[in-house]
């Protein structure tokens, strides 16, 4: 039952974040950008202002809801890009071996040697701030673990009887990779992907905190934290709620990843029969 607990809690937190992001227009009390009113500036949390208001009188609750959109878009889309790159490179490297494997290995080592956030920063510096740049920067810099994993899986899977049987039956290389190797390594790839989404959410926050993310006034959790940093002692709710949102989302993704690992583990799968 313990196996299920992390899956349920993690899945619920992640689902909650997605629902919140999708339904933000209906759940929010005010428009996150337009409804500034200096009369209500820096109100602490109350029945009217659930999460309080910021220095311009904007409702933090509404801004956190809308902020989920940026964080999740960046988390999901950039991790998908990473997964596709990592799987394509790692799977083909492990399957073909030879010089291609050497090239991919060198590239992976390079990526591992440079902290991905620094690399993303460099890309952002070139592309300029904004959502698209964020997606590209984070999508291109965090595939090395997926790549390693896909390569290692392909190396062991290619000696499996069914992969050799497929060769004997006339399957081409691409067909073998797609039908025989990929489905059999999907479990761990999904787990890594889920965990990677969590770290992408964090990276988005970090980059937005540094002013490289989505441009204010549109809210993202990272940029909200960034704007709140001067008032951390006078108006702590400004940083508390976006911080909590980041924390819960990343926690949820990590729990979800762990839970998926438990059920996608091949040993527990064979127990199902």
């Amino acid at each position: 039952m313990k196996l299920r607990a992390n899956l349920v809690i993690g899945g619920s937190l992640f689902a909650l974040a997605i629902i919140v992001g999708l339904l933000a227009p209906w759940l929010a009390h005010t428009d996150p950008v337009m409804d500034a009113n200096l009369m209500n500036a820096e109100e602490p949390p109350s029945w009217t202002w659930w999460f309080g208001t910021d220095g311009q009188g904007r409702d933090i609750y509404s801004r956190v809801l809308y902020g989920a959109r940026v964080s999740l878009t960046v988390g999901i889309v950039s991790q998908l890009i990473n997964s596709v790159i990592g799987v394509a490179l790692g799977l083909s490297a492990g399957y073909f071996g030879g010089w291609w494997d050497d090239v991919v290995n060198a590239l992976t080592n390079l990526m591992l040697a440079i902290p991905s956030l620094i690399f993303a920063l460099a890309i952002m510096a070139v592309l300029g701030p904004g959502l698209t740049s964020l997606l590209i920067a984070l999508g291109l810099t965090n595939w090395s673990f997926t790549c390693r994993l896909a390569r290692a899986s392909a190396l062991s899977l290619r000696n499996q009887g069914y992969v050799q049987a497929a060769t004997v039956l006339g399957y081409g290389d691409l067909r073998i990779m797609v039908t025989q190797l990929l489905p059999n390594m999907l479990g761990p790839i999904v787990v890594i992907g889920t965990l990677g989404m969590g770290s992408a959410v964090l990276s988005e926050a970090a980059l937005s905190f540094l002013g490289l993310g989505v441009r204010p006034p549109f809210p993202s959790w990272g940029s909200m934290l960034s704007e709140a940093r001067d008032q951390i002692t006078t108006a702590p709710w400004l940083s508390l709620f976006p911080g909590l949102a980041i924390f819960l989302t990343v926690l949820g993704l990590n729990l979800l990843g762990d839970g998926l690992r438990d059920i996608l583990d091949p040993h527990s799968r064979s127990r199902r029969t």
Partner: protein
């Protein structure tokens, strides 16, 4: 044997590169299989049966390679075909089933899909048609309730059922040759007999030739019209199955036949392993000079230790490779 044989192996040599040097894992291997014929390849573990089969379908991979000789499929040299040309033969014209039905199926794909993939791949069918054909294929290998079974994953099937699925996959495209490499050793005796019977009947109906590979002379002779006995990388005797039992010519074959239960009790298909010949199979890197069987042969003389015997054609058909054959 008129016209072009289906498959023709001439003086095949398979090299094993162990890093520092090349040794011949098999050499001087020659045989022909005609359309619809059943041919057996028998010998102890490690004598080179599987690598010969792999050579036939162009799938020897480093450290193994073809070191000489010719393999022709319908008169076309397999080594000369492009990679795509070879791939088109595999699964389509030449199919193969293996010893291990447990691992030869993709665990995360429904068996019906794995059969259907053959029609999509080799016959250009749509997935809709292919799925329909997959049900028919499953029915043809006598899997009960095939329209439901197509959705099963391999782990939901018994070993015998899985081997039936393998046969369905292998025969899906109506190949001209089915290579069966120890197709039943992993199964228990009654299931073995059923599977062999099924394979033989299906191939006979469709005119598919069989190359059957096994340790078990009794089993092979039961299925195949002709048998080649392999020892340490060479074919030492090739005869009609009946002849080989009645009058084995090579001392090694004689040992094999003697180690089998008498003909009457051969119904117990494939229960007996051929192990009773004294001595051990020489290692691939240390084949003895002359006749490779000489350290274990009771009839060996000086010439056997220095000169490798040539093939002697036998009057009744077939050949033997021994200086002092019967």
């Amino acid at each position: 044997m008129t016209g072009v044989p289906l498959i023709e192996v001439e003086n095949l040599r398979i090299d094993l590169d162990d890093g520092s040097r090349r040794v011949a894992a098999a050499e001087g291997v020659s045989f022909r299989i005609s359309r619809g014929e059943t041919f057996g390849l028998v010998g102890e573990s490690g004598c080179g049966k599987s690598i010969t089969a792999l050579a036939l379908i162009g799938l020897l991979r480093s450290p193994l390679s073809i070191g000489g000789g010719v393999i022709r499929f319908e008169g076309r040299e397999i080594q000369r075909l492009s990679a795509a040309g070879q791939r088109e033969l595999r699964g389509n014209r030449i199919a193969m089933i293996f010893q291990e039905p447990m691992t030869a199926l993709n665990p995360v794909s429904p068996v019906g899909r794995q059969i259907a993939e053959m029609f999509v791949l080799h016959k250009g069918k749509s997935w809709r048609e292919a799925n329909q054909l997959a049900v028919e294929s499953l029915a043809s290998v006598r899997v009960p309730a095939p329209e439901r079974r197509v959705n099963d994953y391999p782990h939901q099937l018994s070993g015998g059922m899985r081997q039936r699925v393998m046969i369905a996959i292998a025969l899906a495209c109506g190949p001209d040759l089915l290579i069966a490499d120890e197709p039943t050793t992993a199964l228990d005796v009654t299931v073995q007999a059923e599977i062999i019977e099924l394979m033989r009947n299906l191939c006979a109906e469709r005119g598919t030739a069989i190359l059957m590979i096994s340790h078990d002379l009794g089993l092979v002779a039961n299925v195949c019209r002709r048998v080649a006995v392999m020892y340490a990388g060479r074919i030492v005797e090739e005869r009609g199955s009946a002849d080989i039992f009645r009058a084995p010519s090579h001392p090694y074959t004689q040992g094999l036949v003697d180690s089998l239960p008498r003909l009457g009790s051969r119904a117990a298909l494939g229960r007996v392993r051929l192990k009773e010949i004294a001595g051990v199979v020489p290692a691939i890197t240390g084949f003895p000079d002359g006749c490779r069987f000489n350290p274990r042969c009771a009839q060996a003389t000086d010439i056997c230790r220095t000169a490798a015997p040539e093939t002697d054609l036998l009057e009744a058909g077939g050949f033997v490779r021994c200086h002092h054959h019967a």
